[in-house]
Symmetry: C2
Subunit: 123 residues, 2 copies
């Protein structure tokens, strides 16, 4: 980016709790947490919670960062994927979240799934 | 990294509040927040608070991520820089933190300062 936007940085405390919107601008959930690669400092996933949206208890959807777009006008993140795609995506219980960074299983499942939507696996 | 560590990811909620230690293992402060580059999803700075350590009110020290090392044995972040270096580093009030991502001023000051300790400016 040659041209700097006014605020190109954002605090993690402002990201968590931020609404997640679909393309139509409807609120579908919020960012619960961020999963960060310790060594590189890259945010790998935004952990989304859709609350009652899926209606099957509290489950968490790790979404590769590149699939999210921040919309400053709406002060929220926009996912341009269809609801069905998000519903069918791998999701985890809170306990399973603890194992998100352990081993390759979730990484493989998530990037296999979101790879078709442009997400590139981290090293 | 060809070999995966057991947990190579960490949640932002576990990073904030985490103690920051010096080389000798003494607690010198904690991670107050993380400053993330919106587009790339890279953590640019860990925002450190040293509390009473500096004795000059609540000021925040943005530290380039590469200057911090996570120590899983201590469940904390280690800064291997001398106390004097941290004291002399650019620091901000809570109000100034809001402007951290606006324009190039803080970026230039911080990376001019920490560049000698291996930090590389973000694009």
């Amino acid at each position: 980016m040659g041209v700097k936007s006014p605020h190109e940085l954002i605090m993690s405390s402002r990201v968590t709790g931020t609404p997640v919107l679909n393309r139509e601008g409807e609120r579908i959930g919020h960012v619960e947490d961020l999963s960060i690669h310790k060594v590189s400092g890259h945010v790998i996933y935004a952990i989304l919670s859709f609350g009652g949206f899926l209606g099957i208890g509290e489950r968490f959807h790790p979404l590769p960062w590149s699939v999210l777009d921040y919309d400053p006008d709406r002060n929220g993140f926009v996912v341009s994927l269809e609801k069905k795609i998000l519903e069918d995506a791998p999701s985890l219980t809170r306990e399973e979240l603890e194992a998100l960074g352990a081993g390759d299983t979730w990484r493989t499942r998530l990037f296999d799934y979101y790879g078709r939507y442009g997400a590139v696996p981290y090293i």
